[in-house]
């Protein structure tokens, strides 16, 4: 088991290094570390494609949809709490209020967040996080980064992940096995949500790396400005 893992990683790393050397074209201004990022992307493709994606696909294929929905709701409820906190940090009162409302309704009437009652009651789910809150404070994205297994991010958004990771709440569960199981399920759940979009990227992209980078940066800009991206800010 261990040796096959090391082999996969070794292959990944060596192909990554070759790719890193081969692609040193003029860089995109948002991505000064492109050769490094491309190497990391190659590592990600090998590990994700051989291990993570098949496992997650099996989870999607063999878990009944209501069970998956319940799991998504549970983690979504925690996300809503952080949407509320970060929206508050960014001074987005409406979004913070709605998200907090969702958490309260779903926790109280949805069995601790297992059922998303709030969506049926028309309290819209929002997208906000620490990276976007930093953006609202005027902190720029900084260089683009691709992190194996975690995906596309930037220095700013990645710092947001770190803050999010240390603010829990799963990290505060004292029982280590229980905590790890929850981390694991959470990771599988969020990876599963990306599966359908991925099929479209496969079909659409000439170069997946570039396609994902541009889509990520556009998406984050859109979320930061809630759909009202100032035209002069569209280019990086």
């Amino acid at each position: 088991m261990k040796s096959s893992w090391t082999r996969v990683l070794l292959i990944a790393l060596s192909s990554a290094l070759f790719a890193g050397c081969a692609t040193t074209g003029p860089a995109s201004p948002a991505d000064p570390f492109e050769p490094w990022n491309r190497a990391m992307y190659q590592v990600h493709e090998v590990v994700d494609g051989n291990i993570v994606r098949p496992a997650v696909q099996a989870y999607v294929d063999y878990t009944p949809p209501p069970v998956r929905q319940t799991i998504s709701n549970f983690f979504g409820n925690i996300d809503d709490l952080f949407t509320a906190i970060t929206a508050m940090m960014a001074g987005k009162g409406d979004m913070a209020g709605n998200s907090l409302g969702r958490v309260i309704v779903n926790t109280m009437w949805g069995i601790g967040g297992l059922i998303d009652v709030a969506s049926s009651g028309d309290i819209p789910k929002a997208n906000f996080d620490f990276g976007l809150a930093f953006g609202a404070w005027g902190i720029p994205q900084g260089p683009y980064l691709f992190v194996p297994l975690l995906g596309p991010t930037t220095v700013r958004d990645g710092s947001g992940w770190v803050v999010r990771f240390y603010t829990g709440p799963i990290g505060y569960i004292p029982d280590v096995p229980a905590r790890n199981v929850l981390y694991g399920i959470g990771a599988v759940d969020s990876r599963a949500q990306a599966l359908s979009a991925e099929a479209i990227v496969d079909q659409a992209a000439l170069d997946r790396y570039t396609f994902i980078r541009r889509a990520y940066l556009q998406r984050r800009q859109y979320l930061l400005y809630e759909g009202k991206v100032p035209p002069e800010k569209e280019e990086e």
Binding site: G25, A126, T210, G227
Partner: protein, 202 residues
Amino acid sequence: MKATSRIGLAVLAAAFALPAHAQEAPDALVKRVSQEVVQIIKNDPKVQAGDQGRIREVIESKLVPHFDAERMTALAMGRNWRQATPEQQKQLVDQFRTLLIRTYSGALNQYRDQQIDYKPLRADPNATDVLVRTEVIRQGQPPVQIDYGMEKKDGGWKAYDVIVGGVSLVTNYRDEFSEQIRAGGIDGLIKTLAAKNGGAAK
């Protein structure tokens, strides 16, 4: 004499009035076309069975006429568009159109009876370039905004961009295209597009 001229006037008026009536508002057009396509997806047994040929046929007959493939290609090419010869431009438009149809077929396969909200059009009635906003509602997940950039043409409104959750298709391809052109020139890009379209055909 008087009667004929009156009839003539009426015919003339009708002739002028007709195109104005035929000129469907852009948001109405998006709504009608997407509802038609959704109906077909729900009811056509071949589409239900995932018959790629039939799905592509639906897209080509129902959607493609409402897209301005040439403008989409020109926008995705940016500054490089004018450097392309007319023959290259034609090939680019053909290949890009095919790629978009293929991508759209794949996306339609994933459609799961979701509800689409059509937002009211916020635009000047005389505008010739508008953004039509729609939203796909998903249970337990944030809604996905799908917006269409549309331009008024002689034959009616035509879409030149699709923006999914803030990700503009045309902007996304701009990076892809310029990267390919940097590596292999415009012919290199045409080759890559053709390989992508042909390679996945089987």
